[in-house]
Amino acid sequence: MASLREMAAAPQLFAPGHRMCAGCGAPVVMRQVLSVAKKPVVVSCATGCLEVATTIYPYTAWRCSFIHNAFENSAATMSGVEAAYRSLKRQGKLKGEMLFLAVGGDGGTYDIGLQSLSGMLERGHRVVYLCYDNGAYMNTGIQRSSATPRGADTTTTPAGTESAGKRQPRKDLLAIVAAHHIPYAAQGSPSHWRDLTRKAEKAFEAGGPAFLNLLAPCPRGWRYDTAQTIELTRLAVETCFWPLLEIEHGRCKITYRPKQKKPLTDFLKAQGRFKHLFKDENKHLLEELQNEVDDNWKDLESRCGEPG
């Protein structure tokens, strides 16, 4: 495990000068993951903020091979790249090891790219799929996705007199991914960089398909001050809204347990997208959301067993 000083001394594959918003969580996640890529890496991005804002022609923020593709096929494209690499290796036309990283936002992963992700996992390509989850279609203007938390105000689930934000709970993507019985799947948060980079290392070394679901706050969509990005991801973990866990060959493990579980409202009240939940008429929703988090955590604990 490298220290931050050692990580900073290594070549940085994600360059500054990209056009992601100030305070965006996605580049933080990308920088942390790429900092542990010890071999040449090929990256593909599903359409989304990260793709369009890092590759505005004639510039690119990627100091590695990068391949464009459409919204739904980041995983399919990278499957092809990895298959071509294996073929070239077999023919003796390529030497050395390479890493493959398919990236998508929650829209490109939970919704639009779900079939290509499933195909990639099932065929067993040695690709790491990274989902940076900001919980809505932020790139097109904050439309709800299946990763949007219940109660969140988005432009397609606007909070008002007739609605209290999104009605449905988040999709449990990690469980769907785990059901493919792949070698490694994990959920991480940039606030816990040591945990996140260790998971990224494991994913790159999994020897088969691996999946990382990483929390990436969006100051515009979540409606908070840009300086609070990392603090929010920390709150998400400390309230158990975003449990840190990994599933290695089917064995589920909680990698971080908050010493004192914080109330979910600590996470919610820091964001404008949940502001309406604190009105008197919506107070019951707060309770329901807290129960949801408690139930999920209990369920997780029963699946993972006692700490140790």
Binding site: L4, G23, P27, T229
Partner: protein, 103 residues
């Protein structure tokens, strides 16, 4: 890199960008409204600002944090928030730099 005014013959096939990471030549520092100031005498070299910066704008020289890259820093303030309280080596002030010139 493709320069302004280049004709179609000058552009690589498929619109490929052949200089990886050339975004570093693009200045995003003029987005800033607030400006982080680094106080070296208080810095404890924990590198937390470095790992949490979305813009890779914390400069590292000879294995040490050496300041802020104002060409790229967008002034989000994450570094100042995450700098440990006991150090308080990064503070945010209103950026008085002339837009687009002083970065």
């Amino acid at each position: 890199m493709v320069r302004e005014g280049a004709g179609w013959r000058d552009i690589p096939r498929g619109g490929l960008i052949l200089s990886p990471g050339n975004a570093a030549r693009y200045v995003t520092g003029d987005w800033r409204t607030f400006r982080p100031t680094w106080h070296p005498e208080r810095c404890i070299q924990c590198f937390l600002c470095w790992v949490y910066c979305p813009d890779a704008a914390i400069e590292v020289k000879d294995g040490k944090v050496a300041g802020v890259d104002y060409k790229h820093c967008k002034g989000c303030g994450i570094c100042a928030t995450e700098c440990p309280d006991k150090a308080h080596a990064l503070t945010m002030e209103r950026d008085e730099g002339e837009r687009g010139v002083e970065v």
